[in-house]
Symmetry: C2
Subunit: 354 residues, 2 copies
């Protein structure tokens, strides 16, 4: 590689490892979210054999936010470039050894987003490297299906989205439009409704609730009036979503208002999965076909007695008994690497036929 | 007045009019909102006679935003000081002639907000001037009751709030906590629900609606997917609330989804008034006592066939038949001036008794 890099420092390490170079090749998987970015380097595994267990992971690197809507294009690109350089150094590898990269980042909603990212990835890697750019939900799906794009994923963390694929390549999504546009089942949605319930109990519009003392205590406020100032002082959605465990505790302790909020959230989350399943016909003509549902995100995990994830599955099961819930055993960045591997495999298999 | 002003220029005009000075005195009323600030100067009217009709208004001045949460303390203070100086110049008067000022500004929710504003008003005016600081909803109430603090006001513009007073000085409010904290009946709330309905129709979670083509047309977008980018490109609540007339048109044309959104809004707005009436007992023990309900804001006006304001009144009437709706004939800044006059009258009347 004789190209001059935009940012020389990032790739300087490669000059000292010329002798190593490509050998069998590696693949990179990136999961870029609003809080952090994870990059995984795996050796290129054989296309003719089953995936090894456990998966051989050469290195893992972590960096900050790489959502271009949040930190801007330049900062996002530098973060992504740095985390890829770091994982290659740790793997004792370099860009010439890379066979494929799958970059799965939040905020990719349009073909134009995809193309812009592809264009600058193209500047970084040699021509032979296969490049793929996806919404981060797709990597989450692949983390549950070990690289296969089939079935549905439900993510419910601070935000929520459902995303599905059929075996013949059709795709559909539901929700994922953020808090203003009705993602009520998300962590932010649950917490905002809890805050609203406190205000309504205080001004006489709603019933009294144990949420009031729980929330005021943890925020160190003395009156619900002060919630207004607290809420608008910082527009971060994650800061509000952090109240979800409190809502779950209140519901477990029997609070009616908290229970209603969680039941509504379950209904909303199940609805968004059902919309995707229905549009793609994942359940077959009779509605009974099996399909995987990958469940990801804090709202769907970590609850004890009041298990939002389980309630969502029960509700989907009433309409589509073929639903097969999957809790991924690997992280989304590994899902992205497996996607890169699958795409590469398909291209390799397609070649002899042409 | 020998005080040195913080900002000399603003009050320079006073040096040239020393000979005029106080005479009978004037009162100032200010209505400070997020979009504009209006200041009214009235002569001090006799406390022993009925208010003259029409009210004698010496001058009116308009300035930009004076909400300290929005533009910061310094800018808000300068705007308020300038608009008061302008109205006094126009009235051919000066600060020594001022007998009372009522400043009604949005964002005043706590005694601490009130005290901070009182402190700097104190720096501007001579000691004898009576100063009053209120939430802007209070001036809106006074604009309907001609200065009397009794009854309830419902404001529904971009935001919404209900505010009530009893004759013996108790007060209560409901809603007014902004869009995150459940002001669903507001203009912002109505429009956000309409946008959500478009997203849900598009991804298969909700029924088809005429809102889709109406909203995409007016925003010049080609697909509901693009609504996500449009929504989060600018956090202004007023920009979203501006879609309300479209929702009303769709409802009038028979669209079920738009009708449901408006019916929900009516329910929410009526609930917040009823909460205030109930807590203050404005309706008396048997629920039949008459009380004024002052109705203010774009959501409650300007609708043709689908009249949100009338529907809200009907709904309140079912619980409290004594409700007496009032559409103010004067603007809130005049309400603020009438409040200043009423406060001054009370203080004057109270003096002989002590």
């Amino acid at each position: 590689m004789k190209r001059r890099d935009r940012n020389g420092e990032i790739w300087d390490f490669e000059q000292e490892m010329n002798s190593l170079s490509s050998r069998d090749g590696v693949i990179l998987g990136l999961d870029g979210g609003t809080t952090s970015t994870v990059c995984i380097c795996m050796p290129l595994m054989s296309f003719s054999q089953k995936l090894p267990e456990p998966l051989p992971i050469l290195a893992r690197a972590v960096a900050g936010c790489s959502n271009h809507n949040s930190v801007g294009e330049t900062a996002a690109r530098e973060t992504l470039e740095q985390v890829m350089a770091e994982v290659l150094t740790k793997s004792n590898s370099n860009r010439s050894a890379v066979r494929a990269v799958c970059l799965a980042v939040s905020g990719v909603n349009h073909p134009t987003d995809q193309q812009r990212i592809l264009d600058w990835l193209r500047d970084i890697f040699p021509k032979h490297v296969k490049l793929f750019v996806q919404n981060d939900a797709v990597a989450a799906l692949a983390s549950g299906t070990m690289g296969k794009l089939h079935g549905c994923v439900l993510i419910a963390g601070t935000g929520t989205i459902s995303y599905g694929f059929t075996e013949d390549g059709r795709e559909a999504r539901a929700a994922g439009a953020g808090p203003v546009l009705g993602d009520w089942g998300s962590g932010y949605g649950i917490a905002a409704q809890a805050l609203t319930a406190v205000v309504r109990a205080h001004d006489g519009r709603g019933p009294q609730t144990a949420l009031t003392s729980s929330i005021l205590d943890i925020l160190n406020l003395s009156s619900p009036d002060e919630l207004i100032g607290w809420t608008y002082a910082d527009p971060s959605w994650a800061r509000i979503a952090a109240l979800v465990p409190l809502v779950v505790s209140c519901a477990e302790a029997g609070d009616q208002v908290a229970n209603q909020i969680l039941h509504d959230s379950v209904k909303d989350l199940a609805e968004s999965v059902k919309a995707v399943v229905r549009r793609l016909g994942l359940c077959g003509e009779d509605g009974m076909d099996p399909f995987p549902l990958v469940m990801v995100g804090g709202v769907l995990e970590a609850n004890k007695r009041w298990d939002i994830g389980n309630e969502v599955i029960k509700r989907i099961c009433e309409s589509y008994p073929g639903v097969h819930p999957v809790r991924p055993k690997v992280e989304p960045a590994v899902g992205a690497a497996l996607l890169a591997w699958t795409f590469l495999k398909k291209e390799t298999e397609a070649k002899p036929a042409t």
